[in-house]
């Protein structure tokens, strides 16, 4: 029950963050979207035993956080929240792949553990940049960027309407759920029959709402096409941002800097 209003507040909060102002916020959403995507593809392209090669990639989310003023602690907590799922699936690796591939002193590390941590690193990297992207850009801007990049108009309209009424519907569901819990006296989850009734009523009200919205649209001249004015400019800033970061990603993907750095340091001391 709390979950509904928590989620509702969360999306609202993340949307609020997107409304703040910084150099990064003002960047065209297309540049941010494409760069994030290149980042994810690069990170994911490593083979499964990569560990140190992934570490330099943290520079991207960390730099974005630092330059945008987004709350690092909040985002860190969100990543932690979903981490258990990654652990759950990744844990099979150490169980299945027990061949020791290297040793630190007398401690043998199996391939399974290496790939386990590789998965965890990948997870943290990809999840954090996705969250940063949405907190920096905002859902509506992402949708409009996608439409400029070629996403079909009917789908973009769907996304925008969906997001608009997300809060209304989650609010309704939260209220229903609260009303239920006040009379449910201690039960943790709704029983089947009540659930069907709640959801059924919500569905009927939703369909009625759609009809009223349609009426409002007609009253303002709706003819099947949704028209919007959007000013989006791509300039040198966007190119510098996109190309600069992408080049860094390619560089980090091709050269393993940590290994070189480590070799330098250990070489000195050995």
């Amino acid at each position: 029950m709390n979950k509904i209003s928590d989620n509702f507040l969360d999306i609202g909060y993340m949307d609020d963050l997107a409304g703040k102002d910084s150099w990064l916020h003002r960047l065209d959403p297309r540049a941010k979207l494409i760069t994030t995507f290149i980042f994810i593809v690069t990170v994911v392209s490593f083979d499964k035993y990569t560990l140190s090669g992934l570490i330099p990639f943290f520079i991207f989310p960390i730099a974005l956080l630092a330059l945008s003023g987004l709350p690092a602690g909040y985002l860190f907590k969100k990543v932690l929240l979903v981490l258990p799922f990654a652990v759950l699936v990744a844990i099979f690796n150490p169980l299945m792949d027990r061949e020791v591939i290297f040793r630190i002193g007398s401690l043998g590390i199996s391939g399974g553990w290496v790939s386990f941590f590789s998965i965890i690193l990948r997870f943290i990297l990809t999840v954090s940049v996705a969250l940063i992207l949405i907190c920096l850009t905002g859902f509506n801007a992402v949708c409009l960027a996608l439409s400029k990049l070629g996403l079909p108009k009917p789908f973009v309209v769907q996304l925008l309407f969906f997001f608009r009424y997300l809060f209304v519907l989650t609010d309704e569901a939260a209220r229903m759920s609260r009303a239920w819990s006040l009379r449910a006296l201690g039960s943790k989850a709704i029983d089947f029959k009540t659930f069907v009734s709640l959801v059924g009523h919500l569905l009927l009200r939703t369909i009625d709402r759609a009809e009223r919205i349609y009426l409002a649209m007609l009253s303002r001249g709706f003819d099947g096409r949704i028209r919007m004015i959007r000013v989006m400019r791509i300039g040198s800033r966007e190119f510098i941002f996109g190309i600069g970061w992408s080049m860094l990603f390619v560089l980090l993907r091709s050269f393993n800097i940590p290994v070189k750095l480590g070799a330098l340091v250990t070489g000195r001391f050995s």
Partner: protein, 261 residues
């Protein structure tokens, strides 16, 4: 200025399930008039309003807006002239930002980008919501939503404004603001409302609806002062015309004093 006239001639309407919604409704509203449409719940107010922009088609009778009779062919023109504001602002603010919502109508009318921006700015200023242009609707208060909903209709420059329960769920300050705003509009206004005090403030004429029929049509103060009409139509006097339960004096009476008991 005949395009501001709203006329209903013998309207009958039957709902899909067979119940009668309107049972012979006729009236004529002239240019610039402000008319309150009052009646109990289920009297047919909303049903009547929905005939005025062609959403519902009468089973019998005719609606005339200005020079033309409503028919499926001229609905677009009618909807340009008759601006309708609905009860629930969440149903009318369906775009991503306030700007997009207010621009929706003008863009559908085929206006150019600069013209649309001008109209949006103008409409938002009129309702006092100029600073809300980039806000998403879910971040607006009830009063703000109501104002913006009105702006979305104003942006189409209608001649006739039709409103369904505009003051419902507004806090006192927002309500006062709304009344002040509506007073400034020179449009022909038809306002369905339970808020009889607001009706007294804005509308010089009132039509009373009861079970799909008009039971009274005349000056607002006259109708609200007539207990017979009110009882027959299951209505009560506006608050300001109701008397003190003890002495019977109305609240606006100069000798009225608050009891300390």
């Amino acid at each position: 200025m005949s395009h501001h006239i709203v006329e209903a001639i013998g309207l009958h309407y039957t709902y899909p399930d067979g119940t009668k919604g309107l049972n012979g409704v006729s009236f004529r509203i002239s240019h610039g008039e402000s008319v309150a449409l009052v009646g109990e719940n289920g009297a047919g107010k909303s049903t009547l309003l929905l005939h005025l922009n062609g959403y519902l088609a009468a089973t019998q009778g005719q609606v005339r807006i200005g020079d033309f009779a409503l028919n499926p062919g001229n609905l677009n023109a009618v909807r340009r002239t008759v601006g309708m504001v609905f009860q629930n602002p969440d149903d009318q603010l369906f775009m991503a930002t306030v700007f997009d919502d207010v621009a929706f109508g003008p863009l559908n009318l085929g206006l150019g980008k600069d013209e649309v921006e001008r109209k949006v700015a103008q409409s938002l200023e009129t309702v006092g919501a100029g600073h809300l242009s980039q806000r998403p609707p879910y971040k607006l208060s009830q009063g703000e939503k109501r104002s913006v909903a009105i702006a979305t209709v104003l942006a189409m420059s209608p001649d006739i404004l039709v409103m369904d329960e505009p003051s419902s769920s507004l806090d006192p300050v927002s309500r006062s603001r709304l009344i002040a705003l509506l007073k400034t509009f020179k449009h022909t206004k038809i306002i369905a409302t339970h808020d009889l005090d607001m009706a007294m403030d804005i509308c010089e004429r009132t039509i009373v609806l009861h079970q799909g029929q008009i039971t009274a049509d005349g000056a607002t103060t006259g109708i609200f002062g007539d207990q017979n009409i009110l009882s027959r139509s299951r209505l009560e006097k506006p608050l300001r015309m109701q008397g003190c339960p003890k002495c019977g004096n109305t609240f606006s009476h100069p000798t009225f004093k608050r009891e300390s008991k």
